[in-house]
């Protein structure tokens, strides 16, 4: 790491998109759609884009879903008809303009359609996290006052029914999967397809009303409301206008040359802004095909079958896949293993350079081509990445080894940085300028600014309208000139203009000695080890840093199996002395690396424990997007933290856990507290 972080952080920088966006204004995969469709002169809403696609790409596939073992597909023309039928159905239920329609379920074409149908009738779709429990759901439904809920299946319907008494505005549920629903009292329930049939039968009666409502949609009417995952406090409803969604979809599609012939796999939570932009925004803008997996468990099989050309995954997914590949290679025959190691070493040497179009010697090229035949091609095929033209990862830092592994195979994996309030895109890496330690340059139309405390600010056409019913938060996040605080601390590299993020601004603190405390920086370094799943580092206002560690059960379990180490549970494996030794070695290696950095060398981990349970969203320790909730963890495990600082060698604790079905239980454990070697602070090195 450099020791330039702080000097750079302290300077206020304004970098405009004109400087940083060489890719701006490029064509749309050869299709000239741009000018005709901006808000002022053309279709300025998502439903309007749908009608355009239904004419323009009538018989091209718009949505696919694997069901009953077969990929079922709908063309754009069919999609338009289905969505209109549902919109008419909703009208027949008496939906008003401005009503909120909650959408809950796994990624399915019909649920995406329901969001567009809601927009058609002037209502506002609010997608919810499908794994949210009933109380979490009640908060969101109550906050927006949803009148209608469109639910994927019985499980979601049950949750809504459970909390309906707390929801005065709630009126009806439309459910998709009829399974198990026959016995329910249907006074407040409609089946999705039946509602569509009602809509179709009333076309003559309600068609004009539907037309009128669509005509009223403008570039500034609300397109969707998305709730933030609530890393701190209650979730906030982020209101995005058609302008936000369409402008962002347009510029980002141009940035990566997305076109109608692309394919994506929609498998990330529908409530997440990224999924909305990919599967609705960009899909509607470019007309590409959105493919929905059969179930969450079949995602990898479906990925392989579809072979998307445009793919997004959080680092965790790439990590898991790499871990699986490595585990399977461990079990492979000796010849295969040798071949794999030989060609992967070569790929790491020249693969990224080839991908960036840099000059590579002819012999290296031939060797790489042989590797493509023997290893890279088949491996990409197995992973489902054969056709990936543009791949993105975001949300967390990705380990350099993981990132380079995929890039060396010839997969154009890049990083982007964004948030709900920006309609995803703040920065992204242009082709040819990809590195694992930056998040790229400002996206077209985005301006960046670094505040004095290091916090990153941006301004763009994608900037959200407001937090629904929360003017205070809106004012606290977005200033009068439209600058939005990201809450992340970072700096812009002077040489390249790339943005680098170091941590959440509020998590960056000070140690008792005055040294900078950036927990995420250390946590990420530790999480790059396949054996480590999750880390929480403590040390704000304290003398030294300590850490909680979760082992990765897949990786460590496989290691245990190969070494004939028996274990019955996560807890038992986590406390195994050899596992503790391995983790200690990892911690010490990270300490050595952290010590290299003058500013952050105070963040070395002095003592740590391997936790007796995995941190889990059901216990409130992680958000639904799997981000660590520090404050809750600090309160819940206060006894363990105390032991980390009082010098004891072990600590006994009882922890309450919530099972998937909502029941509670308790885990008792005695944890060993280990001390790790720390390096002397590297001040001398920096002085030289």
């Amino acid at each position: 790491m450099t020791n330039r972080i702080i000097p750079t952080l302290l300077r206020t920088q304004v970098v405009t998109a004109a400087v940083l966006a060489p890719c701006m204004g490029q064509g749309l995969g050869g299709k000239k759609l741009t000018n005709r469709l901006d808000g002022a002169s053309g279709p300025g809403s998502v439903p309007a884009l749908l009608h355009r696609n239904a004419k323009k790409f009538a018989s091209a596939p718009a949505y696919r879903e694997k069901e009953y073992g077969i990929w079922q597909s709908w063309t754009w023309a069919q999609t338009e008809e289905e969505i209109e039928a549902l919109a008419l159905g909703l009208l027949s239920l008496g939906i008003n303009e401005g009503d909120f329609v909650a959408v809950i379920g796994r990624n399915r074409p019909r649920l995406y359609w329901s969001m567009v149908a809601a927009q058609m009738v002037g209502a506002i779709p609010v997608p919810l996290y499908q794994d949210a429990n009933a109380e979490e759901m009640a908060y969101v439904l109550g906050h927006c006052g949803a009148r209608f809920v469109i639910a994927g299946d019985q499980e979601q319907v049950d949750k809504v029914i459970e909390v309906q008494d707390q929801l005065p505005e709630f009126e009806r549920i439309v459910y998709l999967d009829p399974r198990g629903m026959r016995k329910y009292d249907h006074a407040k329930l409609d089946q999705y397809m039946e509602l569509q049939d009602i809509g179709r039968s009333k076309r003559a009666e309600l068609g004009a009303e539907l037309e009128a409502r669509q005509a009223k949609l403008t570039y500034d009417s609300t397109c969707v409301m998305l709730y933030t995952s609530g890393t701190t406090g209650k979730p906030k409803g982020v209101v995005l206008s058609n302008r936000n969604v369409i402008e962002t979809s347009k510029t980002s599609a141009e940035f990566d040359h997305l076109s109608q012939s692309d394919d994506i796999l929609a498998y990330l939570p529908m409530a997440w802004v990224g999924d909305f932009i990919f599967s609705v925004g960009q899909a509607m803008w470019t007309g590409f095909c959105t493919n929905c997996p059969e179930s969450a468990d079949t995602m990898h099989t479906d990925l392989r079958e579809i072979g998307p050309t445009y793919y997004f995954a959080p680092p965790r997914v790439f990590e898991t896949q790499l871990t699986n590949v490595m585990i399977r290679m461990e079990d492979a025959g000796r010849f295969k293993k040798k071949l794999f190691d030989y060609f992967m070493a070569h790929a790491r040497k020249v693969g990224p350079a080839l991908l960036d179009g840099k000059s590579v010697g002819i012999w290296d090229r031939i060797k790489y081509a042989m590797g493509e035949l023997a290893i890279y091609g088949p491996l990409k095929n197995t992973l489902g990445f054969s056709r990936v033209r543009v791949g993105y990862t975001a949300g967390e830092a990705i380990g350099p080894e993981i990132f380079d592994f995929y890039r060396s195979l010839g997969i154009n994996l890049k990083q982007l940085y964004g948030q709900t309030e920006a309609t995803v895109f703040i920065t992204a890496q242009p082709d040819g300028q990809v590195r694992s330690d930056t998040v790229g340059v400002a996206c077209p139309g985005v301006e960046l600014k670094i505040a004095e405390n290091g916090e990153v600010f941006y301004r763009s056409p994608g900037v959200f309208v407001e937090y629904y019913k929360n003017a205070d938060s809106t004012a606290g996040t977005k200033d009068a000139e439209g600058w939005v605080a990201t809450g992340d601390a970072g700096f812009i590299e002077e040489a390249t203009g790339h943005l680098r993020i170091i941590d959440r601004a509020k998590d960056v603190g000070q140690m008792a000695s005055g040294a900078l405390f950036a927990p995420k920086y250390v946590e990420n370094k530790l999480k790059f080890f396949p054996n480590i799943l999750e880390v929480v580092v403590f040390g704000n206002q304290r003398e030294e840093c300590t850490a909680f560690i979760n082992i990765d059960l897949t990786a460590v379990g496989n290691w245990a199996e190969r070494n004939n180490i028996g274990y019955a549970s996560y807890q038992e494996l986590a406390r195994h002395p050899q596992v503790m030794d391995t983790i200690q070695a990892h911690v010490e290696e990270v300490n050595r690396s952290v010590a290299q950095d003058e500013m952050l060398s105070g963040c070395q981990i002095h003592r740590f424990v391997v936790l007796h349970k995995e941190l889990d969203a059901d216990d409130g320790e992680l958000t639904r997007t799997r981000k660590v909730r520090r404050r809750i963890i600090e309160e819940k495990y206060a006894d363990i933290i105390a032991a980390l600082y009082d010098g004891s060698s072990s600590v006994s604790t009882v922890t309450e856990v919530t099972y998937e079905d909502g029941r509670k239980g308790a885990i008792k454990a005695t944890l060993e507290v280990r001390a790790a070697q720390v390096q002397p602070v590297a001040q001398k090195m920096a002085a030289e």
Partner: protein, 274 residues
């Protein structure tokens, strides 16, 4: 002993229609040499209901299920099926009559994929012969497509899509049980016999399995007879329960009736038999 009225059709509290008697055991006695496994037992199974047979270990539950499935032929008594006494028949003939079952210790084809295993459940519905099947043209191909569709709907229903192509040998126990249920369902049976569907499962797997059993009954209207010794599960699932102990029937009725039956309480809490 009070027995629920058996003469007329009725609708349960949750809206399922229970029809007339579809199968009836009349004074069944089964002996293995000198051991009387089943002693003069009579009960009936009605269309659309979930009928449980419970009892402590060694009570004769599995023997009873084997009598129903035609695997054992009782020395005394008759099995009436769809209003007529059933002559002794081979198990495959019973299967052809619309009775499918799962086994206490899983009997799947371990080397075959889940899909292939489920397809074997369709065997009784396939009409083309060996020759047509091996050439696989015209009728055989069409038949395969139709049967595959039924199999896929069941795979979807039981949420085992992710393991469709996985060899059964590689699956954990709980999933194998579900695959067995899928295979039995693929036969589209009139009566589904489940032999300890929840044995060896953890709480979560038990809950899943219970939900699937209820859904099968609700969705396909399949009559289900199941053996189980987890009392809690049985009481929640079934419409009527037969309780056996030492080969004798000691109780028969709705879960509530059975729960309050003194003989049943004794059998479960362990009163000395003398």
């Amino acid at each position: 002993m009070r027995v629920t009225d058996m003469t007329t059709e009725y609708t349960t509290a949750d809206g399922r229609r229970i029809g007339g008697t579809v199968m009836e055991m009349k004074n069944i006695t089964l002996r293995f040499g000198g051991v009387e496994a089943i002693k003069n037992i009579s009960f009936d199974i009605r269309e659309g209901e979930i009928r449980a047979i419970i009892g402590p270990n060694g009570a004769g539950k599995s023997s009873m299920l084997n009598v129903i499935s035609g695997f054992y032929v009782p020395q005394d008594g008759e099995v009436w099926y769809k209003g007529a006494p059933r002559p002794p028949m081979k198990p495959f003939e019973v299967a052809q009559q619309g009775i499918a079952r799962t086994f206490q210790n899983i009997a799947l084809f371990e080397g075959m994929s889940v899909l292939d295993n489920v397809m074997t459940g369709r065997l009784t519905h396939m009409k083309t012969g060996l020759f047509a099947q091996s050439i696989w043209k015209g009728k055989a191909e069409q038949e395969e497509t139709e049967n595959r569709e039924v199999a896929e709907r069941i795979i979807d229903f039981l949420e085992i899509q992710a393991i469709r192509k996985t060899p059964v040998a590689r699956l954990p126990y709980g999933l194998k049980k579900r695959v067995e249920l899928a295979r039995a369902l693929a036969a589209e049976p009139t009566i589904l016999l489940l032999d300890e569907p929840m044995a060896g499962m953890n709480v979560e797997e038990k809950e899943d399995m219970s939900r699937f059993i209820l859904d099968v009954n609700d969705e396909f209207g399949t009559t289900i007879a199941l053996i189980e010794h987890d009392m809690g599960v049985v009481m929640d699932l079934s419409d009527r329960v037969v309780v056996m102990d030492y080969g004798k029937k000691i109780g028969d009725g709705t879960p509530d009736e059975v729960r309050n039956n003194q003989d049943v309480i004794d059998a479960y809490l362990g009163v000395s038999h003398d």
